[in-house]
């Protein structure tokens, strides 16, 4: 018997699994969660737990119902639940949060075939559904038991110039649960980069473009507005979602610039003060095309043949 093994590619395997990657994301989100409990009180933790639990339950029930393999243990539903909860203010009624979870897990993820088949970020679909359904509840920021008092209600995006850098960095202002403490989000982002879970390209290009274009369009306090609102949360944890971001580095740069452009346009000229959600969703839709345009050519391969007309 020959000792030679014959097999088809891939020949190099990594020990990483979806589960370990998702666990890293959860670890990276923990500082922001702790910060939110300090800032807004215990209810922030409660909302997050409920959201995670409900997302996992929904995924389990749906997959049981359709007799599909149950993929709850890959922890992706937990991450989605965390991110949906991070996108609502601490005063959000629980049933509204559950509607967001339902939209995220069932509508955006499972109906399209589960993890890896969703063409939009599930958590952001949850946010959009909540935004169109419960606009008032989602944009009323009243702190309850934490450091932020009930008086601070508007998002600093409405007027970033009136907040100091330190206030923005540590999130001492109104906002949704997960987005306010910039320092904690950055810490988690650095952890993800060090662990190799994400490449820093998309967040850096995205945030850079947003700051530059906000300045170019004449927006108020471009640097400070980068720390305010959902930009950091979106750029680090949502825009970098494997399923809904381009594969190649070149594609990632294009993706980041596009997201920055849309975010800056909406923030400076739009009716909404926040543009991150729409930017990432629009970007997600473009991802297949970006992937097509930036396909890597093997060394020595012929230039790609022009596609026949009419195909």
């Amino acid at each position: 018997m020959s000792k030679m093994n014959l097999s088809v590619s891939p020949h190099i395997r990594s020990a990483r699994t979806t589960q370990s990657i998702m666990l890293d994301v959860i670890i990276a989100l923990t500082p922001a969660l702790i910060a939110s409990v300090v800032l807004y009180g215990f209810r922030a933790l409660l909302l997050t737990q409920i959201s995670c639990g409900f997302c996992v339950l929904l995924e389990f029930l749906y997959e049981k119902l359709l007799k599909r393999p149950v993929t709850v243990s890959d922890l992706s539903a937990v991450v989605t639940g965390l991110l949906v909860a991070f996108n609502v203010p601490v005063s959000m009624p629980v049933w509204m949060l559950l509607v967001g979870d339902l939209a995220a897990i069932i509508l955006a993820k499972q109906l399209f075939g589960g993890l890896g088949c969703n063409f939009m970020n599930p958590a952001l679909v949850g946010r959009i559904v909540m935004m169109f359904s419960f606009t008032t509840a989602l944009t009323t920021y009243t702190g309850s038991a934490g450091l932020v008092d009930a008086a601070t209600s508007a998002t600093p995006l409405a007027d970033p110039a009136s907040y100091g850098f330190m206030e923005l960095l540590f999130g001492l202002h109104g906002g949704v649960i997960g987005e306010t403490c910039a320092a904690a989000l950055l810490l988690g982002g650095i952890y993800l980069c060090v662990r190799g879970v994400i490449k820093p390209i998309i967040p850096l290009v995205y945030i850079g473009t947003t700051v530059l274009l906000t300045w170019a369009f004449g927006g108020v306090a471009p640097l400070r507005s980068a720390l305010a609102g959902g930009l950091l949360l979106g750029a680090i944890y949502m825009a970098t979602d494997y399923v809904t971001s381009p594969i190649t580095d070149k594609g990632k740069v294009i993706f980041g610039v596009f997201l920055g452009l849309i975010t800056a346009l909406i923030r400076v000229f739009g009716n909404y003060s926040e543009g991150v959600t729409f930017a990432i969703i629009l970007g997600n839709i473009l991802v297949p095309y970006i992937n097509d345009l930036t396909e890597t050519r093997p060394i020595g391969a012929n230039p790609p043949a022009k596609k026949e007309a009419g195909k």
Binding site: W95, V99, L107, V129, F132, S133, F134, T135
Partner: protein, 240 residues
């Protein structure tokens, strides 16, 4: 294969439902299905126009010259729509306001024109009447069905009566995205039910499938039937 009168009538209800299977007239379904009242009015108005135009076009099918058949169909349809519009405006002003432009737009509704072209211009009066009735009721069934869900979840009411207390509404359902969602769910549900009943889908849907003798030249004309998956083909001949 000659269809029985009953088959012609029930065809439009489920198997060849104009909205969910033929994908015609989606525009008014998405726009009007916000309230049950409006949806019911729209469905009945369309059914009336459809039956009327189908009968008249079927009567005139030997007289109408082939080359100018579309303008002729439009004139017949427009006559009935004007009739409905005047009656609704005179006796049901609330409904008239709720339907707005979509009542007048029945003139160019693709279900009406589609049935005139695909059925009434080729079949007898009784068959055309039954086809118009079936298709119209199929449309009404879908638009009212979607409206029930949308009104209940989105506004918390049913035919204007409050079911779910104020403050527990999901606003997106009454907005455009909600319309598309419910449309998709309704389509999936119908196809699921038909599959359960073991009905096979013919990709050459919406006609008698006799593409060799057909002058319509639709986009999904099938010369040899190779699709055996029993599923719906994505492409449809006409758009709404």
């Amino acid at each position: 294969m000659k269809k029985s009168k009953w088959q012609i009538f029930t065809n439009g209800l489920f198997k060849e439902n104009p909205v969910l299977i033929l994908l015609l007239g989606c525009c008014s379904v998405l726009a009007i299905s916000v309230t049950v009242q409006g949806a019911l009015g729209m469905g009945l108005a369309l059914t009336f126009v459809l039956v009327g135009s189908n009968v008249v076009i079927s009567l005139l099918r030997k007289v109408i010259p082939d080359k100018v058949r579309i303008p002729c169909f439009i004139v017949v349809v427009a006559t009935f729509v004007t009739l409905v519009e005047m009656v609704v405006e005179a006796y049901l002003p609330d409904l008239y306001d709720a339907l707005g432009i979509f009542l007048a737009l029945i003139v160019v509704n693709c279900i009406v024109l589609g049935r005139a072209e695909m059925f009434a211009s080729k079949n007898g009066v009784v068959d055309s009447l039954l086809d118009g009735l079936g298709m119209g009721l199929g449309y009404t069934l879908v638009i009212v069905g979607i409206a029930v869900v949308r009104e209940l979840l989105g506004s918390g009411t049913l035919y204007g009566f409050r079911i779910i207390p104020e403050g527990y509404q999901i606003g997106i359902i009454t907005q455009t995205p909600g319309g598309f969602m419910m449309f998709g769910f309704a389509m999936a549900l119908l196809i699921f039910c038909l599959r359960k009943k073991g009905k096979k889908f013919d990709p050459r849907i919406g006609c008698d499938g006799n593409c060799g003798n057909c002058a319509a030249g639709c986009a999904n004309a099938v010369t040899d039937l190779k699709t055996e998956d029993g599923g719906l083909t994505a492409k449809e001949g006409s758009e709404s």
